[in-house]
């Protein structure tokens, strides 16, 4: 779950320094994008629409809290709808120097269960987002080779196009990102298969707004390459760098839903 927050932040949050693309290398641009996501805490309410080829929509809503301290990032998520997953809760504890911990609470079983946290390619809530997607747009200079391959304008936003080839090929062999370098925000990302030529899916961000001094895109759409399915994520509420009680990030809260 932390990864989806990171992904959202990567694509939406902008640091204030204004830098032109011409004065930056690809690595510097991506480093700025990555660093812009760092913050002490966040709280978001998301609406996720899963849209199939016939236009049929399935909707999920969730709230998530995240807090980072001393290289440990804790995230808790509660699903609000649909009824079949309502009150399902996830707790993820990501430690830079240790393996991730992940717990799930299923209301039907009324029990907290530890689950493996390493599966990155699985679909998140049946959506077109996977955990690997979250990581692929946040390659830093040590994880991938970045290069500027052109410029483009999307919806009136001037973008620098950056190709990122990961040093260790995961689920994707390449990503191409359209970065608004003025605000260090990702506007569009194409994800390619390991052969580096087959487009797998495309992410488009929009509705950029300034919130708490940072620019946030309140809408994202991930579309698979054959257009057969897409997922639209809308941020209904967002708060950054607010105090969040540590008790939220505990197994006790996961189990009871109460502080």
């Amino acid at each position: 779950m932390k990864r989806i927050i990171r992904m959202i932040m990567v694509m939406m949050i902008v640091t204030l320094p204004v830098l032109s693309a011409s004065s930056q290398s690809a690595a510097e641009i991506m480093e700025l994008v990555a660093s812009s996501q760092k913050h002490a805490s966040s709280a978001m309410e998301l609406r996720m629409n899963l849209i199939d080829s016939r236009g049929e929509v399935r909707q999920r809503t969730l709230q998530t809290l995240s807090s980072s301290e001393n290289d440990v990032t804790k995230t808790i998520t509660v699903f609000l709808s649909p009824a079949s997953v309502k009150n399902t809760r996830f707790l993820t504890i990501e430690n830079d120097s240790a393996a991730d911990e992940q717990y799930i609470y299923l209301p039907s079983l009324a029990k907290v269960k530890r689950i493996a946290a390493t599966e990155r390619s699985g679909s998140f809530m049946g959506s077109d987002f996977s955990y690997a997607d979250m990581a692929s747009t946040t390659y830093d200079t040590s994880e991938a080779t970045h290069s500027i391959i052109g410029t483009d304008t999307i919806e009136g936003i001037d973008c620098t196009i950056i190709e990122s080839i990961p040093n260790i090929s995961g689920d994707y062999g390449k990503t191409i990102s359209w970065v608004d370098t003025e605000r260090s925000v990702v506007v569009k990302v194409e994800f390619y298969a390991k052969d580096r030529s087959s487009l797998v899916k495309t992410l488009v961000c929009s509705r950029f707004e300034l919130i708490d001094g940072k620019t946030v895109a309140r809408s994202m759409v991930m579309t698979v390459a054959d257009q057969s399915h897409s997922t639209a994520v809308e941020i209904m509420q967002i708060k950054l760098n607010i105090p969040i009680r540590n008790e939220y990030f505990t197994v006790s809260f996961l189990e009871t839903g109460r502080l």
Partner: protein, 442 residues
């Protein structure tokens, strides 16, 4: 049981009535405000959820009658700043002529009061202890209703029981104390297609002679401590009560050696155990181990169960780049000081082939397809010593987020029928069932 249910209902309703500020809490209300949009209703002061549907089921036998029964679940919840209450009602009769029982209607009733140090919960509750995945060696708080065979989700077979729990703890260490004023035993069928004993012996049981366990004399206490550290969870538990499995003691005519009656009894015992779970890569490993200390500590009373060790080990693994989750668990017990020379010892009824140990392997493959629209499950339970097995495939098609169609089957049998009936699953061989249900979730 009926009286206790009524009393609990009354207490719960009273608690609700005296709560002046009622509102539902879902999510992080302390942080987020309501997300109200045009045409969106105001948040209700109570939460209501559940499902409505119909089950159509039959034995897998063309001559069997097909039964159609309602499948209703309804949960009502209330909450204020320091307490909450919920009622889960469940109506899923096996056939419409079943007699009315509270245990078939009230799934759980819970009233909780939260304090800075933890919370207190009371009601008719179901609790699951142990690190195992659905099945456990150290889960003594609820008994199972075995009168209609085996369900893939053993929690569905649990009977809610009156209990009070106190939970305390910090982020990494939690403690729980439980008091159960009465005891319920496992509910086995002693006649009909799901009988666990030979029909010839069923008539020897005098129902009037079965001990009543709904007295304070059968009160039970339990406690556990859970510690979470990095990738490891460890729990230590203790339970003082009765073994939930009743014993069947056969009385013989001293002259003819023919059975004259069967006495059902309960063995008071103490269970202590430890469970642990940890994650490594795509694997989640789980283990439980404990020992039952019987009132028949010296194994001198053939009507009481002996001391026994119980254990379980298993793992879950997610197949990389897929939605397939495979789990495998071995659950077993070892009866101490088993008197194999005395076939009338109640422990011998659970000693397949006279062996003091009994092991059951449970494997399952769960997967979802087409963006979670299709869900499949293949579960297989194999009682190793008796060679009895249960196969439980299930297929669910979610037409949308609210409507789903489900088909599931349960197939009983034995890999080795030559040695006569030893396994309960072989006894149920003619009870293979298939159920198709349509559900609407709300």
């Amino acid at each position: 049981m009926k009286r206790i249910g009524l009393i609990t209902c009354f207490i719960m309703l009273y608690a609700i009535l005296i709560s002046s500020m009622l509102f539902a809490q879902v999510g992080f209300d302390e942080i987020f405000g309501p997300t109200l949009e045009e045409n969106e209703p105001v948040v209700s002061p109570v939460t209501v959820s559940g499902h409505a549907g119909i089950d159509v089921s039959s034995f897998i036998d063309c001559s069997s009658e097909i039964s159609s029964v309602p499948n209703l679940a309804f949960e009502l919840g209330w909450a204020n700043a320091h307490s909450d209450a919920s009622v889960r009602l469940r109506l899923r009769p096996y056939n419409m002529s079943d007699p009315f029982e509270w245990t078939k209607i009230i799934d759980t009733i819970s009233i909780r009061r939260f304090f800075p140090w933890g919370h207190v919960e009371a009601g008719l509750l179901k609790k699951e202890w142990g690190k195992g995945d659905g099945i456990h060696a150290l889960d003594p708080l609820n008994t199972l209703d075995q009168r209609h065979g085996i369900k893939a989700n053993l929690q569905d077979m649990k009977i809610a029981e009156p209990m009070i729990t106190v939970a305390i703890g910090t982020a990494d260490i939690r403690g729980q104390l439980v008091y159960k004023p009465i005891s319920l035993s496992v509910l086995p069928a002693i006649s009909g297609p799901w009988s666990v004993i030979d029909p010839a012996y069923a008539a020897l049981i005098d129902p009037a002679a079965v001990p009543k366990t709904n007295t304070l004399e059968f009160g039970q206490f339990a406690g556990r401590i859970d510690v979470h550290h990095a990738n490891i969870d460890v729990g230590i538990m203790a339970f003082m009560g009765h073994m939930s499995q009743p014993s069947f003691a056969i009385r013989l005519d001293p002259s003819t050696y023919q059975p004259t009656s069967i006495q059902i009894g309960y063995t008071r015992a103490f269970l202590a155990g430890i469970d642990a779970g940890f994650a490594a890569g795509p694997f989640t490993f789980m283990s439980e181990a404990g020992i039952w200390i019987s009132e028949d500590f010296n194994a001198s009373d053939s009507d009481k169960y002996n001391n026994a060790c119980v254990y379980q080990a298993g793992f879950d693994v997610t197949i990389p780049s897929s939605t397939i989750i495979i789990s495998a668990q071995l659950n077993g017990r070892y009866i101490l000081d088993l008197d194999t020379a005395n076939p009338l010892d109640v422990d011998m009824a659970q000693a397949y082939g006279g062996k003091p140990y009994a092991n059951t392997m449970i494997t399952a493959i769960n997967s979802t397809w087409f963006k979670d629209r299709i869900e499949t499950r293949l579960a297989f339970l194999w009682q190793i010593e008796s060679n009895g097995y249960v196969f439980m495939p299930m297929f669910t098609w979610k037409l949308d987020d609210a409507v789903s169609l489900q088909a599931e089957a349960t197939v009983y049998g034995s890999f080795d029928a030559s040695d006569g009936i030893e396994s309960i699953y072989e006894r149920w061989e003619g009870n293979d069932t298939i159920t198709i249900c349509a559900l609407y979730a709300f």
